[in-house]
């Protein structure tokens, strides 16, 4: 005797994969078009992707809202759903809930210098901001982009990265943990790139996205550069199951009752420094 609830927040939007491309051995890129219109997301937000009968998983949107109509996801095979998602191809349908989460504070960043730091898959959420900034380049001051990944083969968005490298209005550097014979760039941790960046701390927003282990060290470098804590923006990782601040899985052990899915995933360092873990 079930009733149908048309305004249920559990309902799904139907999305069709319009393009899919393997990026690395473990990561695949998808472009998705929603049947009911634009995703209407902001940089730094995420969606819940449903594969019918398999389940649902949170995935960061890696495209900028300035490129409307379709959105993009980069999915690493990590859990059951993201592994299965590697088999999807153009033409397949997925269910989408969202967008969810607090975006990067783009409006507050206007008129300031930006230091954008990504480690590993952190480039995916950060790319939504990088491309937003590129499309609104005039609004921001100096822009530095620092990328880090394990090996040159793990580098995501290689073509775009090359384009950023060439642009005159962006300072770009990247580093790998382990080089390859033909690798001519930096080898070492991403923290090693920060001392080389000229920073005017009062007018700089540093946006850092990467694995939890990276935050502590990058933040220490930024602190050494005297970037104010409220201008250090992080995107935290937790298991965001419902996306609506209810299921409890993504709660951060922090006195302010933060749910990563709703109060985050982006936080200022000032907000979350009291957390027992970042």
């Amino acid at each position: 005797m079930s009733e149908i609830i048309n305004n249920s927040s559990w309902r799904l939007r139907m999305g069709r994969i319009t393009a899919a491309r393997r990026m690395t051995a473990a990561e695949k890129w998808f472009e998705i078009e929603l049947e009911d219109g634009d995703l209407e997301h902001e940089p730094g937000q995420f969606v819940q992707v449903e594969l019918f009968g398999v389940g649902e998983a949170p995935v960061s949107v890696c495209s900028s809202p300035t490129r409307r109509g379709r959105f993009e996801l980069t999915v690493r095979a990590a859990g059951r759903l993201t592994t299965h998602m590697q088999t999807l191809k153009a033409g397949d349908w997925v269910g989408i809930r969202g967008p969810f989460g607090r975006p990067f504070p783009v409006k507050l960043m206007i008129g300031n210098d930006l230091l954008l730091v990504a480690g590993g898959l952190g480039i995916a959420p950060l790319r939504s901001l990088i491309n937003y900034v590129m499309d609104n380049r005039r609004e921001f001051g100096k822009v530095d982009i620092l990328l880090g990944c394990k090996t040159p083969e793990d580098m995501l968005f290689g073509d775009e990265v090359k384009a950023w490298e060439k642009r005159l209005d962006v300072n770009f550097s990247c580093t790998v943990d382990r080089g390859a014979p033909d690798w001519k760039g930096n080898v070492g941790l991403i923290t090693s790139l920060i001392p080389g960046v000229t920073i005017a701390p009062e007018r700089t927003f540093a946006v850092v996205v990467g694995p939890p282990i990276m935050y502590k060290f990058v933040i220490a470098e930024l602190a050494a550069k005297r970037v104010p804590e409220r201008q250090i923006i992080l995107s935290l990782e937790r298991h965001m199951k419902c996306g609506m601040g209810k299921c409890g899985h993504c709660q951060i052990d922090h006195p302010k009752n933060y749910y990563c899915c709703k109060d985050g995933p982006t936080f200022t360092y000032e907000e979350v420094k009291a957390a027992s873990r970042l």
């Binding site: 927040s9 309902r11 990782e237 209810k246 052990d253 027992s276």
Partner: protein, 347 residues
């Protein structure tokens, strides 16, 4: 504010009359000092004097397992439907601790984006409270959090006056039931008897831990590194009993099931527990609350610290279930006392 009277000898007729119209649930004895809310058809099934049930009545609004979505992938494009099973029902005999618990969950699930499944079930239920004139047992700490008196959250509220119940009517829905069954209005003498019960309760119910609840936020503010957490971690079995039985715990998990036709299926929501090993694990394998001590600490902070920020109240209603159900006998009262040592302000 209406008060009605129901003779105890008339309770059976009252329950039967309701049961003719809808499903009626009430506390039922399960043996070994355990009780559970179950469907009843007459008053003789009901345990009027009971220790809080194994599971709180939250199970009627947020069932242990519930279908949220149905889908069909047989066509060119997948189709889905959001569904809820929300029968008309009455819940009789809800103690004030559990009424407070329902109020907490109402706040959580009506916060936007609202959970229609929970709200729809809640809206279809007639809630009838039952006052505790004395303590159920020594594990309760309702006076600490002020949940030993009624604070709304019900349609009708029953207080035992010996040979009769005096019934407070809190909603029009409740009034319609009382009027429909032609329950007489309470007299001034009944009101005086109610006052006497409440006066007596003031003497019986006393702060159970001897710590001023106003100090608890500060105690928890400074309690993250307290040694009590590792002590609890060493005793905890991680069975999840304490959260499953808690009237204010609402964490859940979701999973898809596909039918053997491989075309149709549904998504089920199931209660989950922050005490279980994998609760805070992310896809890459990292566990944000790996230690039992961290998970126990999290449970207490979800009761006495985190909800203050958002809902201005403790999410502990003093029902004592977590202590009663714990195989390792981890006691909420003892934990709070241990945390409070050295903070002064004992009363």
């Amino acid at each position: 504010m209406n008060y009605h009277i129901l003779k105890k000898s008339g309770l059976d007729g009252f329950i039967r009359a309701l049961a003719r119209k809808m499903k009626v649930c009430a506390p039922v004895a399960k043996g070994y000092g355990n009780y559970a809310f179950e469907e009843v058809s007459s008053a003789k099934d009901i345990a009027l004097s009971y220790i809080p049930t194994i599971l709180p009545p939250k199970k009627y609004f947020m069932p242990q397992r519930e279908r949220l979505l149905e889908f069909d992938i047989s066509g060119e494009k997948p189709a889905e439907l959001a569904v809820v099973d929300a029968p008309e029902m009455a819940i009789f005999g809800v103690h004030t601790c559990d009424l407070a618990g329902i109020q907490c969950l109402n706040m959580v699930f009506s916060e936007k984006p609202a959970d229609r499944n929970y709200l729809r079930r809640n809206e279809k239920a007639l809630i009838m409270g039952l006052e505790c004139n004395g303590y159920c047992d020594g594990h309760a700490s309702c006076a600490l959090v002020g949940a030993h008196y009624p604070n709304g959250g019900y349609d009708l509220f029953f207080t035992d006056l010996g040979d009769r119940f005096i019934i407070h009517v809190n909603t029009q829905k409740g009034e319609d039931v009382a009027e429909g069954l032609k329950l007489p209005r309470a007299t001034p003498a009944d009101m005086a008897a109610l006052d006497k019960v409440r006066e007596e309760k003031r003497r019986v119910f006393q702060n159970e831990i001897g710590v001023d609840p106003a100090l608890l936020p500060a105690i928890f503010d400074r309690g993250m590194e307290h040694k009590v957490w590792s002590e609890l971690g060493g005793r905890c079995v991680s069975c999840g009993n304490c959260t499953n039985v808690c009237p204010t715990c609402y964490c859940f998990d979701m999973a898809d099931t596909i039918n053997l036709d491989m075309k149709t299926g549904h998504r089920t929501r199931t209660w989950d527990s922050c005490q279980l090993e994998n609760f805070a694990v992310v896809a890459g394998g990292e566990n944000f609350r790996k230690l039992r001590a961290e998970r126990q600490r999290h449970r207490y902070y979800r009761k006495f610290k985190y909800p203050l920020e958002k809902f201005y109240r403790f999410f502990c209603t003093g029902c004592g279930r977590c202590t009663r159900t714990c195989m390792a006998k981890i006691s909420l009262k003892e934990t709070l006392k241990a945390l409070a040592v050295g903070h002064g302000g004992r009363i």
